[in-house]
C-alpha cells in the first residue's frame, strides 16, 4: 500500500490535524471529528450539516464555510459517523432556526443520521433531512436500498448552503434540497480500485486492460466491467444513462469529478467529451465544475453529474461561497 500516512488507524485524525492547521477559518474537533466554521453564522438562520465516511475529500469538510455547510461530521474511512457525533455537530451549529441534514443514501449514513435526528429532536432542535440519491448506475426500487448519493451532493450543498445563508427558513430549505435531488443525476466509472488504509490492499482487482462502469464512491465494484475504452466512449457510457433517466433539455450545471488519482489534464479532456454529448442532447451548460470534489481515496476514474437549473438555482449558485474546496465572490 503506497500512501503518505503513518499508522492506518491514525489516518483520519492526523489528516484532520492538517485541516485544522491549514484552515484557521475552521474549527476542527479532533475528538468528535466535527468540522465547523470558526465564526458561526448569525442567530436565526438555518444551519446545514452533512457528513459521512472519510476518503471523499474535499467532501464534506472542505465545504464548510460561509455560503455552504455549517458543519461536517467525518466518519472513519468509508464509514458513516455515529449518531452521537452527528447530534453533537447539529447542536453546535443550530442557530435557533433548525438544522438541515444532508445525507447520502447509504444504509449506514441513513441509519446513523436518522438516530442523530431523533437525538437532536429530543433536545428540541428542529431537524430536516434530505437524502441524496442521484446515482443512475443503481436501479431504483422500493424493495432495495435504492440509489446511492454521489456527485449531486456537492452541488446540493452549495445551493442549499446559499439559501440557508440568505435566511430561508427550514421548510424552504428542505423543499429546495428535495427539489434539487429530484432534478440531478450522476454516473461514475473507475480505471483502478482504491485502497482503504485499514485494508492495506486494493478493494478489487482490475486488470490493466479493464475498467469498471457504474461505480460509487466507496471502492465498491461497479455494475459491470469491460475493456478499457477511449475517453469519448467512456463519456458516452456515463452521459447516456443520465439522459435516459431524466429529460435534461434546457439549462444545467454540470460537474466532471475526479475520483482522486486522475489528473486535471484528463478531467478537462473528459469535460470536452461530456459537454459535446450534452449539447447534442439539448442541454445548455450554464455553469460547470471540473476537478476533484467527491473522491474515493486514490481511485482513478471520474463521474459526471448533471443538474437541471432555473434562474433561481443559478442565482444561488453564483452567491458567494468561501470554503477550502469551493470559493468565489469572497
Amino acid at each position: 500500500m503506497k500512501k503518505l500516512i503513518n499508522a492506518p488507524e491514525d489516518v483520519l485524525v492526523e489528516s484532520l490535524k492538517g485541516v485544522a492547521l491549514a484552515h484557521p477559518e475552521l474549527s476542527v474537533d479532533l475528538e468528535t471529528h466535527v468540522i465547523t466554521r470558526a465564526t458561526p453564522k448569525e442567530q436565526g438562520k438555518v444551519a446545514v450539516v452533512s457528513g459521512g465516511g472519510s476518503g471523499h475529500e474535499p467532501l464534506h469538510g472542505g465545504f464548510v464555510g460561509a455560503g455552504m455547510l455549517d458543519a461536517a461530521v467525518a466518519g472513519e474511512v468509508f464509514t458513516s459517523p455515529t449518531p452521537d457525533r452527528v447530534q453533537a455537530a447539529t447542536k453546535a451549529v443550530d442557530r435557533g432556526a433548525g438544522v438541515l441534514h444532508i445525507v447520502k443514501n447509504y444504509t449506514g449514513d441513513v441509519l446513523n443520521f436518522e438516530m442523530a435526528a431523533e437525538l437532536a429532536q429530543m433536545e428540541g432542535i428542529e431537524v430536516g433531512t434530505v437524502i441524496v440519491d442521484d446515482d443512475v448506475a443503481v436501479q431504483d426500487s422500493l424493495y432495495t436500498a435504492g440509489r446511492r448519493g454521489v456527485g449531486l451532493t456537492v452541488l446540493l450543498e452549495k445551493l442549499v448552503g446559499a439559501a440557508a445563508e440568505e435566511g430561508q427558513d427550514l421548510a424552504a430549505v428542505v423543499d429546495l434540497a428535495t427539489r434539487i435531488n429530484g432534478q440531478g443525476r450522476s454516473m461514475g466509472m473507475a480505471l483502478t480500485s482504491c485502497t482503504v488504509p485499514a485494508a492495506g490492499k486494493p478493494t478489487f482487482d482490475l486488470p490493466d486492460d479493464q475498467m469498471e462502469i457504474g461505480i460509487g464512491i466507496h471502492g465498491e465494484p461497479g455494475r459491470h466491467r469491460e475493456p478499457l475504452a477511449p475517453a469519448s466512449d467512456i463519456a458516452r457510457q456515463l452521459v447516456e444513462p443520465i439522459l435516459a433517466d431524466l429529460d435534461f433539455a434546457g439549462p444545467a450545471i454540470v460537474m466532471v469529478n475526479g475520483m482522486g488519482a486522475t489528473p486535471q489534464i484528463e478531467l478537462y479532456l473528459m469535460y470536452a467529451e461530456v459537454a459535446a454529448l450534452l449539447e447534442k442532447a439539448g442541454v445548455q451548460i450554464a455553469r460547470n465544475l471540473v476537478g476533484n470534489y467527491i473522491t474515493s481515496l486514490d481511485m482513478a476514474g471520474c463521474s459526471v453529474t448533471v443538474l437541471k437549473v432555473d434562474d433561481e438555482l443559478l442565482r444561488l449558485w453564483d452567491a458567494p461561497v468561501n470554503t477550502p474546496g469551493l470559493r468565489w465572490g469572497a
Binding site: 466518519g75 468509508f78 444504509t107 438516530m115 482503504v196 465498491e220 455494475r223
Partner: protein, 214 residues
C-alpha cells in the same frame, strides 16, 4: 444443569464475540471487499473493542443495563450500517430482558427475537435480501423451535448457531437487495454477506459462552 444465562455468561459471550470478530477481522473485510466497501472487519473490531473497554471499566450488574451499554457503545463507536443495526439489536435485547441478573431459555429467546425485530425496524430487511437478517432470523427461529421441543439451553444455542451458519451460507447465491451490496446488482451473487458472517460469529460465541457456563 442450570438452564439459564447470567450476566457473567453474557459478558463472556461479548468477550468471545469480540475475540471472534478480531480474529476474523480480515476475513470479514475480505467478504466486504467483494460486495461492499472493505470495512466490515474494521467496523466490528473497532466496535467490540470499544465495548470491551467499556465493560472492562466495570460491567453493569443487570442484564438490561449490560446489554444496553453494549448497544449504546456499538452505536457510538461503529458507524456504518452495522453500528446502528447491531447497536439496536443489543439495545432492544436489553429493553426486553429487563432488570434481571439472569435469563432463562424463554427469556433469552424473547430478548433475541426483540433484537432481531429492532434490526428489521431500522433496516427493513426481509428474508433473502442478503443481509445479517438472513443469518439472524433462522438462528432465532431455531432457538425458539429447540426450546419448544424441550432442548436444554446449550443444545438450543448450538442449533441456533448452526442455523445462523446455514443462513449465512445460503446468502452466497443471493442477489442483494439491501445495503451496499445491492448496488452491484447481479454481481453481488456468488459471495457470502459479511453481516451474515459476523452474525454467525455472534451466535457461535453465544453457544460457546452458554456451554462454557452451563
Amino acid at each position: 444443569m442450570t438452564d439459564t444465562i447470567g450476566t457473567d455468561a453474557l459478558v463472556d459471550w461479548i468477550t468471545r464475540f469480540r475475540e471472534a470478530v478480531t480474529e476474523k477481522r480480515e476475513w470479514l473485510t475480505e467478504l466486504d471487499s467483494a460486495i461492499g466497501d472493505a470495512d466490515h472487519g474494521a467496523n466490528m473490531a473497532r466496535g467490540m473493542s470499544a465495548v470491551s473497554e467499556k465493560l472492562g471499566a466495570g460491567a453493569p450488574g443487570t442484564v438490561d443495563e449490560l446489554l444496553k451499554s453494549v448497544g449504546m457503545t456499538l452505536v457510538s463507536s461503529v458507524g456504518g450500517a452495522s453500528g446502528p443495526l447491531y447497536g439496536t439489536f443489543f439495545l432492544r435485547m436489553g429493553m426486553t430482558a429487563g432488570a434481571v441478573t439472569e435469563l432463562d431459555a424463554a427469556g433469552l429467546a424473547a430478548a433475541l427475537r426483540a433484537g432481531l425485530e429492532g434490526i428489521v425496524a431500522r433496516g427493513k430487511a426481509e428474508s433473502g435480501d442478503k443481509t445479517m437478517f438472513d443469518a439472524m432470523s433462522p438462528a432465532v427461529d431455531a432457538l425458539d423451535a429447540a426450546i419448544a421441543e424441550g432442548d436444554d439451553l446449550p443444545t438450543a444455542a448450538r442449533k441456533a448457531a448452526d442455523a445462523a451458519a446455514a443462513g449465512r451460507d445460503a446468502t452466497e447465491p443471493l442477489v442483494a437487495r439491501k445495503g451496499r451490496a445491492s448496488y452491484l446488482g447481479e454481481r453481488s451473487a456468488g459471495h457470502l454477506d459479511p453481516g451474515a458472517a459476523s452474525t454467525t460469529l455472534l451466535f457461535e460465541t453465544l453457544a460457546a459462552a452458554i456451554s462454557g457456563s452451563s
